[in-house]
Amino acid sequence: MKTFKGRMIVPGTVTAEAVVSHGGLNTLASFQKALQFGDKKATCGDQNNPDLYGKQMAGKALCLPQTIGSTTGGLVIYCACSLKRQPACMLFSKPIDSLAGAGVILADVWLDDVKMPVVDSLGEEFLEYVKDGMQVSVAENGEVTVA
């Protein structure tokens, strides 16, 4: 078990199973099919992401360095949240990028009843340590415990 300290961007507590992307998460490529065709598991559709392709993202602790790709990224996160197909939490090893930052702030300000704690700047060691299937707990102070 190991604990990492990051910056709490959207507060909240949660415990969930990890899915890990070691490369940048292309938000549009990852979520688009799931959102369009009613996939409640939000199965990752990004062929260029060997870590996540074909895996469930909804309800998981999504561990990633940053997001990349289309500037629809933020509104894709916003829509995933509105459809309740968002990850249980988003945990960034690097400082959050502008697209993911926009998406999680939009969801927090404009949507009611959405719980998706977001922590960034957890460090490279976090992403090296955490593996698919591990239990990840987010505390209110931005501490992330991986077991």
């Binding site: 292309n26 369009q36 930052g101 300000v109 404009w110």
Partner: protein
Amino acid sequence: MFEHHMRLTGEQQAVLDGGKGETLSKVMETLIRYGELFGAEKMVPVTSEYNHLVTSFGLKAMGAVYELMDTLIGAGALSGQKFSVDPKPLDPNVPANFIQNIVFNHFMYTEQERYEAQLRNLGLLSDSAFTCTCYMDAVGNIPKKGDVLSWSESSAVVYANSVLGARCNRNSGIIDLMGSIVGYVPYFGLLTDEGRKADWIVEVKTTKKPEAQLLGSAIGMKVMEDVPYIRGLDTWLGKELDDEACTYLKDFGAATASNGAVGLYHVAGLTPEAAEQGESLVKPDAKVYVIDDAELKRVYDNYPIIWKDKSAKPKLCFMGCPHMSLQQLKDWTDKIEKGLEENGHEKVLVPTVFTAAPAVLKRFEGTPYCQRLKNTGVILSYICPLMYMNNPLSGKMPVITSSNKLRTYTSARYYTDDEILAQLTKGGR
């Protein structure tokens, strides 16, 4: 009221405090919280004449976006600038079978009419302002050097920053519009001098002019969100930002932005800030990435091919993601005519769609090239190829393209321009 640490003007604070209503207060809160994530200490005025938005599609799954738009319109929170917007997802000119048409019109884009009406209410520039290449002369949304923008669309943002010298962060959809509504954007990242310094030196050492879409892909995947300073490309592009260089940089930039997250690049001796400031733009601790022929081949060979039958005959070819320039349409007309003649064919051997901005297509239609291209069987369209491809039916089709952006987001298979030409005029690579 949430706590913030930004230094706001009296006017900005009044908006945040609800002086112009609850909705505008929430818009301001969104922008402040967004900016503070990246250390913004103030909001600065948007100075461009027009905005550009990324969201052009009325996807059923995006219902929350359209509800938010209704909220903004209902509160009178309209864009202070007219704006262009990304291409439409549907065009009856583009081949689609019976089932695809049902899926497009009755399951996917059921909100299209509602959303286009919302765009008109919010400040759409014109009914033909649907393109990802709003900076083309024919379209006319061309920011000046130093302008502060609230744009989105990754390929347009990277072009505006790099080729035009404007200043814009990689804003998300919705945030783009909100900046235009309040007239301010948070000051951070690519708006600042420091944020425009290069984290990488890229040395281009190829033996021939590198394919724009391949070079951009390689750099995007390497530097991700960082700023690269590219040496050696002026050898192939020259020292002038002429039509040919701008077209190359359009496609190159789109690939850096979609295969990575590049919002700004500098090309030594060519792009405005590099031409003025030279290597003083490079951070002292910049990393180095050398690109030679072998590196481009490695990148190309590593693209996954997700067609079920990898040797399937292509059923469709899309060119123009981002939308083609007028010069590209003319050049491809010449190339296709010549290729068909050399190989003894009259029509392209794969159904092919070239996409461009409505205003560019109109100009092209005024030239003799247009009929010549149509004679080869190529279809012209204003569609967004990406939106066409984003469904399981199109995803199963063997579609080819020389767009690395389209390859990244869909099942389309990437080929170089020469390989595409061979497929269209000869069959096979």
